[in-house]
């Protein structure tokens, strides 16, 4: 039903009664005069509505203009920073100077040169250095509360204010035995969110058993079936690894879990994570393979907003250094979108994925056993489990040993990647092994944050689910690959 925003009244201009008791010399002229007076009334309404329309348009245009000016200032600042970094980079390595010596007008092009340049010289930082990098805080909240009274058009707001007031349910609230608010039985705007939250929590609670079933099936069946049973994300990631010999495109893969969950359970669209490009670091230009468990954990964090996918077209990936872990932590995270930027404490340990940080204090090496990973919000208090992943014993080498031979299945490819002949992160591993004192986790604080985020944060629920799926896919793949390994032998 369309809701009229603006009404021009009166509707029926020519209908009217002649004044009773008064002798009108000319009835027809009296009717015409009444009609003209009502037309003038209509014109006044129309002019008022026109004023409202133009006021609204001017307001929106002013807002856009202000944002444009602000954006231009940010772009200028960004260009200056890029210039500085480019100069410092070119000073350090003149041979790898950008082809375009002159500053690019287009910031994107400029950053591409910058990234391609920096990707040529991967530098690995130690964990303390990674931790010392302050996390990036997003400054803008996009599209918050788009359907609220403040965003309502004035005409509609006027109609809204004319609505009947709510019945005084608060009077009978003290007499309720169940302690519920009486208004929820009259109107409960959060009903669907609560329903969805309960479904998601229930689903994530029993997801361990759910996901375990296909794993056992894939082990029992034949080779062709195994390849079908392998999670799509894992196979895709393995293919990307095989092609690029580098970690997969994180934003694309991290986008998958959300799509999968939305296909299985009817998920409401998560709030658009601003700068959810946390996973947006793509290392396709690198030549350094990475243990899948490492970057798999890293891709867990955040489903990037769909609109950011196109930015990959002209935003080249960062260098595949282990510093991409802290860098990802530096990027804004979805919870910041929920208006709780303070929930992100300062420096977070670099490699710890949100999933790992949510795990029980000694995390299992595979990360697949089932303490449900809490949202990344708790990354402040949880020590980094990823070192455990990194210190895992390498899987058995593939029989062929050449990545080209292993292109048959995704699991095979993955196994090949898991046993790189040279580990470029030996420095990082040494740093991890060499006495990084892990902080003790305060169970009470963790439970508190876990509970609060579980209750009210859409992003936390979604991330928890995604983390569960990813951890399950991690646990799915090894049995399938083992089975295939046995069959090949």
């Amino acid at each position: 039903m369309p809701l009229p925003v603006l009404k021009v009244e009166p509707f029926k201009v020519s209908r009217g009664l002649l004044p009773k008791g008064k002798s009108v010399p000319d009835d027809l002229e009296a009717v015409a005069n009444g009609t003209l007076s009502k037309i003038i009334l209509q014109l006044s309404f129309l002019s008022k509505h026109a004023t409202e329309i133009f006021t609204g348009l001017v307001q929106v245009a002013t807002d856009i203009s202000d944002r444009s000016k602000n954006l231009k200032g940010r772009i200028d600042v960004l260009a200056v920073k890029v210039n500085q970094i480019m100069e410092s980079t070119s000073d350090e390595s003149p041979k790898q100077e950008c082809i375009n010596a002159t500053p690019c007008q287009d910031t994107t092009t400029f950053c591409r040169h910058f990234v391609s340049e920096t990707s040529l010289q991967p530098s690995y930082l130690s964990i303390p250095e990674c931790i010392s990098i302050p996390p990036f805080q997003i400054t803008t909240n996009f599209d918050q509360q788009v359907f609220s009274g403040t965003s309502m058009p004035p005409g509609m707001l006027k109609i809204h204010t004319k609505c009947d007031t709510l019945p005084p349910f608060e009077i009978i609230d003290p007499y309720r035995d169940d302690g519920k608010d009486g208004f929820t039985f009259y109107s409960n705007p959060s009903y669907f969110f609560d329903f969805w939250r309960e479904e998601m929590l229930k689903d994530t609670g029993s997801s361990g058993r759910k996901f375990a079933a296909p794993t056992s099936k894939s082990v029992d069946t034949g080779d062709g079936i195994i390849s079908k049973k392998v999670p799509k994300r894992a196979s895709e990631m393995s293919s990307v690894i095989e092609n690029n010999n580098s970690p997969p495109n994180v934003p694309k893969t991290s986008d998958k879990p959300v799509k999968r969950t939305s296909g299985r359970v009817s998920l409401p669209p998560p709030p658009p994570p601003p700068g959810g490009k946390v996973g947006g670091i793509n290392s396709s230009d690198s030549n350094f393979p990475r243990p899948p468990s490492f970057f798999k954990d890293q891709k867990v964090p955040i489903p990037p907003p769909p609109f950011m996918e196109d930015i990959d077209e002209y935003l080249p990936p960062p260098p595949p250094t282990p510093t991409s872990g802290p860098a990802q932590n530096n990027f804004p995270r979805p919870p910041a979108d929920t208006g709780k930027p303070g929930s992100f404490p300062g420096p977070a340990p670099p490699p710890p994925p949100p999933m790992g940080s949510s795990m029980a204090p000694p995390p299992p090496p595979t990360g697949s056993s089932m303490a449900p990973p809490p949202p990344p919000m708790g990354s402040s208090m949880a020590p980094p489990p990823p070192p455990m992943n990194l210190s895992m014993p390498p899987p058995p080498p593939p029989p062929s040993g050449s990545p080209a031979d292993s292109g048959a299945t995704g699991t095979k490819q993955k196994r090949v990647i898991q046993a790189p002949p040279v580990d470029p992160r030996s420095e990082l591993l040494n740093a991890i092994r060499g006495g990084i004192a892990l902080k003790k986790v305060d169970p009470s604080a963790r439970e508190e944050v876990k509970g609060s985020s579980k209750l009210c944060d859409v992003t936390a629920i979604l991330q928890r689910r995604v983390a569960l799926e990813i951890s399950d896919s991690d646990s799915d793949t090894p049995p399938a690959s083992d089975n295939e390994w046995d069959e090949n032998e």
């Binding site: 201009v13 000319d26 027809l28 940010r74 990036f136 510093t323």
Partner: protein
């Protein structure tokens, strides 16, 4: 007869008034239609502009994060 002429005059005058009222109401209707279409068009264009601006802001946010990382590494 003079009464009849008066009636005819009144009726003719009434017809003229009605035509005039018709013109005015038609003009009001056209103004309202124009206002609606103008509002719709402007809002759609502004919405597109806002969308592009939001996209740009997100990209700039991403680049700022990227640059901040670069600065931290430098």
């Amino acid at each position: 007869m003079p009464h009849r002429e008066d009636f005819q005059k009144q009726i003719q005058q009434d017809w003229a008034n009605r035509e005039y009222i018709e013109v005015i109401t038609g003009s009001i209707k056209r103004i309202a239609d124009f206002l609606n279409s103008f509002d719709l068009s402007c809002r759609s264009r502004l919405a597109m502009l806002n969308e592009r601006l939001t996209s740009l802001e997100r990209k700039i946010e991403y680049l700022e994060a990227w640059i901040s990382k670069g600065e931290a590494l430098a």
